[in-house]
Symmetry: C2
Subunit: 230 residues, 2 copies
């Protein structure tokens, strides 16, 4: 008894996953079970925005799961986590460090996908989506095509339930994602990207720089008001 | 700067993982970081026993991580979780259901290993152990050699840190594990196996039956006092 019109989405409330939420609902006609994981991230604004987008998009249910006790264990490994070091400016990250930058959270995507797979299995949902995008300013090993392929090879061993991970934005650039989202009616003033936890996005951390560049490439203005640009 | 004398152990406080704890400390000379995950399991007695064994064994540090909010999402999928259905007697499980029995927790081992890998990476530990045992009365897909192999194929993609999962008891029978543990000085009166959450082990759930059989095969008496035997 599999729900074929349902899917599960790992939903942070960021630019990529909000676009994916819209794409799944508006383009693919899914009824989306969006799962937001609280893991002690500094950028909790994402979660507030996540809720707003879920309300706007209709046909989506929001599940928030708090595993933030994990931050006690991961904070030495990442600048993204509450209690960790300050998120650096993009220009402060050496090219050597770009292989595994200070904003990398140890094994985060495998942790998130494993939980999403477990929840999907309990809900009898066969499709799990996440908005990994391989072509970031710098890369993460857990946002690659090979990573998704190998995770699926693990899950294929399940003897009873077939669950598959999909990452449809894997080979899109940030500006291609924004272009897609604009056509689907995404309100990018309700998406948060900044890795720091301040009132306004900083404009200098890696994800702010990437986001600003992507809007600019499309000849568009990012609707968010930035700290350094104001 | 990798800690080569350290390893991380997924440690439930059950019979298998307690034997593995002793094996890692006494036989292999490791300094063990034992991670116990609270996921809303009914058999919380395991955790009390876990603490006692950590104290006894020396050279091990106990980390308890509470992700029990996850039980809200997984309880429909398993009888092991608080709020789920009653754990059946072994004899009540049909042979068809033995492929993926009602005591299976959706994707639990992948969730646990992913978290363990993340913690190991933050702690700069390269070796993660878990006490999967393939030859249970009935099998779980996430306790097999192929599962461990494929999880390792995912983690191999990490661009900076080498982490490997080991499951040295994969091909041991329950009685072989007990035999090994007896030689290492494990006190099996401090290991909990029963899947139900009662005062004494029930003696009829699948794991009680398996445990009793294993002791009996060695001509030994299980030091625990059972509900149905008293």
């Amino acid at each position: 008894m599999r729900n074929t019109n349902k899917c599960l989405l790992l939903y942070s409330g960021g630019l990529d996953s909000t676009t994916l939420l819209y794409w799944l609902v508006k383009e693919k006609g899914y009824n989306v079970n969006a799962v937001t994981l609280l893991y002690g991230q500094k950028h909790m604004k994402e979660v507030i925005f996540a809720k707003k987008n879920i309300e706007k998009v209709k046909n989506a249910t929001h599940h928030i799961l708090d595993i933030s006790e994990i931050s006690k264990f991961l904070k030495n490994g990442s600048t993204l986590i509450m209690g960790g070091k300050e998120v650096p400016k993009l220009e402060q990250i050496s090219s050597e460090d770009k292989i595994q930058p200070p904003t990398y959270v140890p094994n985060r995507n495998m942790i998130f996908l494993s939980i999403a797979i477990g929840i999907a299995e309990s809900m009898e949902i066969g499709e799990v989506y996440y908005s990994a995008q391989a072509q970031d300013e710098y890369g993460y090993w857990d946002c690659t095509e090979e990573f998704v392929k190998r995770i699926n090879q693990v899950v294929e061993l399940n003897r009873k339930n077939t669950i598959k991970i999909y990452a449809p934005f894997l080979n899109l650039s940030k500006s291609e994602i924004i272009k897609l989202g604009m056509n689907l009616g995404v309100d990018y003033s309700l998406t948060w990207s900044c890795y720091r936890g301040d009132e306004k996005p900083c404009g200098v951390c890696p994800t702010c720089v990437e986001r600003l560049k992507a809007f600019s490439k499309l000849g568009l203005q990012d609707p968010l008001e930035y700290e350094t640009l104001s």
